[in-house]
């Protein structure tokens, strides 16, 4: 028996099929979920994929957060359901207050798409157990509103509780396309909730699961193997 992992499609979701593929490649069963349907169809975990849900109109993630499916996701996430938010999914998680802080427009005011170097800061969450703490990985990044911000108190609390899950790292000078890509505070690329079941990040692990495709690396696959192992062993 394998794990069933739901992927929500909102109007304007873009990476939903890619995320389903990544789940399949990891050996789990992807289940398509629809934003208007409150029923999660007995999935064991949920991914909120990247994209421009509702065109990012009003504010990225602000409208999707109120979709019917999110009522159930919020309720069950609080009860321990593993939830991963990628890019727009991360934005939705912060809008839904499942994760603290929020995302502003990139400091350079441009969309940015590149292979991004990250450091795994917390390898104890439901979605990161297959990494080593401190491991450096390359994951594609692509967004317009990716600058993570929170107040100082929240940032300190996240640091103190080990809830910064991923940080942008520099390789020498930032001009070569590494380093903090957007002005995120404390170089934060992704965070987790206290329980470690809800994780959000701006880069896209689902685009780094096959050697030939995208960045050419498979550094993103452990997200999906981590959750699979956790669910199957549970």
């Amino acid at each position: 028996m394998t794990a069933r992992i739901g992927v929500v499609t909102f109007p304007g979701s873009l990476d939903d099929r890619d995320t389903q593929r990544a789940i399949r490649l990891a050996g789990a069963e992807p289940v398509a979920l629809w934003h208007k349907d409150k029923n999660l169809h007995q999935v064991d975990a949920v991914v909120l994929p990247g994209g421009f849900s509702y065109g990012d109109y009003l504010r990225a993630g602000a409208i999707s957060r109120f979709s019917p499916v999110m009522e159930t996701v919020i309720e069950q996430a609080k009860a321990g359901l593993p939830v991963l938010g990628i890019c727009n999914g991360f934005q939705i998680l912060t809008e839904a207050h499942l994760l603290p802080g929020g995302m502003l427009g990139n400091d350079h005011l441009h969309f940015i798409c590149r292979d991004q170097k990250l450091r795994v800061e917390n390898a104890d969450t439901a979605w990161t157990a297959d990494y080593e703490s401190g491991q450096e990985i390359h994951i594609p990044l692509k967004n317009m509103d990716g600058r993570y911000v929170a107040d100082e108190y929240t940032l300190d609390k996240l640091e103190a509780e080990g809830r910064v899950a991923f940080r942008y790292v520099a390789r020498g000078e930032a001009a070569h396309g590494y380093g903090n890509p957007n002005g995120s505070l404390r170089d934060i690329a992704g965070i987790t909730n206290e329980a470690g079941n809800v994780v959000g990040l701006m880069p896209h692990p689902e685009h780094a699961v096959e050697p030939l495709i995208g960045s050419g690396r498979t550094d993103g696959l452990p997200f999906f193997t981590s959750i699979l192992k956790k669910l199957v062993n549970a």
Binding site: P11, F52, G55, Y57, F111, K142, M144, L212, G214, S215
Partner: protein, 752 residues
């Protein structure tokens, strides 16, 4: 509501002497008289609106048609072509039951007026052409040309265009995998914003723009219709019918990529359930175009009730509704019993859909407004029987002097130090510099099938996860070559795109083109146009790659100054297994570098002559299409059989530009030896066509040489992948760090 009486067909027949503003709508006197002759009476305002926009240069190809015929007449025999010229986009068989549709279009003029929206709606339009064929769009490419890189207006136009392409394409979830960015003062005031898209479908899913089956319903779905992009129709509305009404409206349409994304998903779902008989997107000329083309391509007529069109602005006149170019709209023909299901799918995706008419038994297109018949025409006369011009053309007087101004006479570097300096200058020049600042604003990962994206020689997309089947696309054009010789320039554009596709390991199959020229009323421009088409059609015939469709953009001209003739050619290729693709980047130290093809002293129109001497003269490189075909075969075989690990085509900037790019992308240097019989300068900077540089693993050296020898392709060993510099032995060395700084700093410094 208009205060004046509705200009119905009946009213028009009864009031033959009413003067209509045909000239303001862009019709010539004889064109207007032809409309009257066709109808046997004066047209109504609505009919005039339709004829004027459908008979415009943009929609009717009236100046170019007589020349474009050559693409059909000279079309090579090809089993690959499933749908040819004339539909929304051509369709090519790529094997395993898959078909691919692709097309390039221009959105030049709007992008100069309003760079962001002009470029964004260019992407939107080409993507709707692709979905209208029944295909899921899988990638976009954007060949772009701007004025001088350091001209202040370039800093207005370029960032807006790039943000518009990114803003729209990224939001649609389409990877941007290729294209070009070229700077030249000739494009000042006339930037070229061409947009290409590729879509994939199964053979049985091909859809065509035709309305058949009497009683079938015509459904308009997508965005509401507003007053954007109605240009001339405002004149009609304000001057003739209701001069009290404010009608200043934006000439450039505004895009909503979110709406388009919903339109894609809902259209594909309707296709999947086989609910659609015929389909047409609404682009230029809006409903005028969609209704007249659907009706004229089908077997019957069509009746439309314009009152049922959902509006964003309730004050629009019927003429404006017919001409509106509001974006993100499509028109489908659906059997009556399937209408409910079609509307249900639209509702699922929150897309507004309305039945606005039906297919009729007759052969007339009839349009009603407030109960009156305001259009009653034979749709073929609107859509297909527009005027055709045999514009006069003549080789310009200055052409001989231009060709006599041989670039071979330009001063060449006199010392290794000077040579080194010119190499640094070349790789840092705006046209040769890295475009990463631009391309990083485009998503190239989305959909998870991107195998290669810019700056690779071609963009490559996997279309079947099981078998690894993929398609590649490259777009190329060199206005400088075409200015020197439009016939050869068009062939060189095709040769380069063909070579780029083959360099990545894919077999070239078919061609789309975007022909950007100045005013057809200038005989010199018309000669350039005629020559370019003749050259391209001849070359397509010789290379066996049919033209599947394309686009013509004329009047790219400010005053007397036309742009360089700029035929942009897109070549589509297929690769059986994307795992065999060949990238540009050097992969492994120690691999041997081979130069394939012949290097001659050819500098006319070269990047070197532009960067070092600001010179344009002489003749472009010699065209040898048989050589291109042979080179392509060798590159494809070598890729399939694992004989090469990286390859890069040689084009503008010559060999040194290619080697520097491969080195920087692979983060590995190269030691080069100037081959016997060549001087270092010619070796590095010549732009002879039909060449590529490949990196061969030592274990494959013998096999690779044998293959080239057996097939008669000249091959020269020129060095080895090694170290952290590009070292031209006996001449100079430039460290990768120094080259990277030169290559990557230029564009951000000018534009960021």
């Amino acid at each position: 509501m208009s205060r004046t009486p509705l200009d119905t067909v009946e009213h028009a027949a009864a009031t033959p002497d009413v003067e209509l503003p045909w000239a303001e709508l862009g019709l010539k006197k004889d064109e207007y008289e032809r409309v009257v002759e066709i109808l046997g009476r004066r047209p109504t305002g609505a009919e005039l609106a339709m004829y004027s926009v459908m008979w415009s240069e943009h929609c009717s190809y009236k100046s170019s048609k007589v020349h474009l015929r050559q693409f059909g007449e000279k079309a090579p025999q090809s089993d690959a072509l499933l749908v040819g010229i004339g539909e929304n986009a051509g369709v090519v068989d790529v094997g395993q039951g898959y078909a691919v549709t692709f097309k390039v279009e221009s959105h030049n003029h709007p992008s100069y007026v309003e760079p962001y929206q002009g470029a964004a709606t260019g992407v939107g339009g080409i993507v709707r052409d692709i979905i209208a064929m029944g295909a899921r769009p899988v990638a976009v490419v954007d060949p772009l040309r701007f004025g001088a890189a350091d001209h202040p207006d370039t800093k207005r136009v370029l960032p807006g265009v790039v943000a518009g392409i990114g803003g729209y394409g990224n939001c649609l979830g389409l990877p941007n995998i290729g294209g070009e960015v070229v700077f030249d003062a000739c494009y000042q005031g006339n930037p070229l914003v061409n947009a290409g898209a590729i879509g994939v479908m199964r053979h049985e899913d091909i859809h065509l723009a035709k309305a058949s089956g009497s009683g079938n319903k015509v459904i308009l779905y997508g965005a509401r219709t507003g007053g954007d992009g109605i240009g001339g129709a405002s004149i009609l509305a304000s001057e003739t019918f209701d001069d009290a009404k404010p009608s200043k409206r934006p000439a450039v349409q505004v895009g909503d990529p979110f709406q388009e994304k919903l339109l894609i998903e809902c259209t594909l779902e309707a296709f999947k359930e086989k609910l659609v008989v015929g389909i047409q997107d609404l682009g230029a000329a809006g409903l005028s175009c969609a209704t007249s083309e659907l009706a004229s391509n089908g077997s019957g007529g069509m009746r439309v009730t314009l009152d049922d069109v959902p509006l964003r602005d309730s004050t629009l006149s019927p003429e404006e509704i017919l001409m509106s170019e509001s974006q993100e709209r499509m028109c489908a023909v659906v059997e009556p019993e399937k209408v409910d299901r079609f509307l249900e799918i639209c509702d699922k995706w929150d897309v507004i859909a309305t039945v606005i008419g039906e297919v009729t038994d007759g052969d007339r297109l009839e349009i009603y407004w407030h109960g009156g018949k305001i259009v009653d025409v034979d749709p073929r006369t609107v859509a297909h029987d527009g005027p055709v011009y045999e514009r006069p053309y003549a080789r310009p007087q200055w052409q001989d002097a231009l060709q006599a101004d041989d670039a071979g006479k330009l001063a060449r570097p006199a010392s290794p130090a000077e040579l080194k300096d010119q190499v640094r200058k070349l790789v840092a020049s705006p046209n040769q510099a890295s475009k990463k600042w631009i391309t990083s604003q485009y998503d190239h990962f989305v959909q998870g099938n991107t195998v290669l994206a810019q700056p690779e020689d071609s963009g490559m997309i996997r279309i079947d996860e099981e078998s690894g089947l993929g398609v590649a696309i490259a777009t190329d054009g060199n206005g400088r070559y075409a200015k020197l010789d439009p016939y050869a320039g068009a062939q060189l554009a095709l040769a380069e795109a063909y070579r780029n596709v083959a360099t990545t390991g894919a077999k070239p199959l078919a061609v789309s083109d975007c022909l950007n020229f100045g005013s057809p009323e200038d005989p010199a421009v018309m000669w350039q146009f005629a020559e370019a088409i003749r050259g391209l059609a001849d070359a397509c015939q010789q290379l066996g790659t049919p033209v599947t469709g394309g686009n013509v953009s004329l009047y790219n001209q400010t005053g007397e100054a036309a742009i360089h003739p700029t035929p942009v050619v897109a070549v589509l290729g297929v690769i059986d297994d994307v795992a065999r693709r060949t990238p540009v980047a050097f992969q492994e130290e120690g691999q041997l570098l081979y130069l394939l093809g012949d290097t001659r002293e050819e500098f006319g129109g070269s990047a070197w002559s532009q960067v070092v001497h600001d010179h344009l003269g002489g003749l472009p490189p010699k065209v040898d299409l048989e050589r291109e075909r042979l080179l392509g075969e060798i590159l494809i075989s070598a890729s399939r059989d694992g004989m090469i690990d990286s390859a890069h085509d040689l084009s503008d900037g010559g060999l040194i530009q290619a080697v520097v790019e491969s080195a920087l992308l692979g983060e590995k240097g190269a030691r080069l030896v100037v081959p016997d019989g060549l001087d270092a300068f010619t070796f590095l900077f010549s732009e002879s066509a039909g060449r590529a540089v490949v990196a061969v693993p030592r274990s494959e050296e013998l096999r690779f040489n044998d293959m080239c020898g057996a097939r008669g392709l000249p091959v020269t060993r020129i060095g080895v992948v090694d170290g952290d510099s590009v070292d031209v032995q006996g001449e100079f060395a430039l460290s990768l760090e120094e080259l990277r700084e030169a290559h990557e700093a230029t564009i951000p410094a000018l534009l960021a």
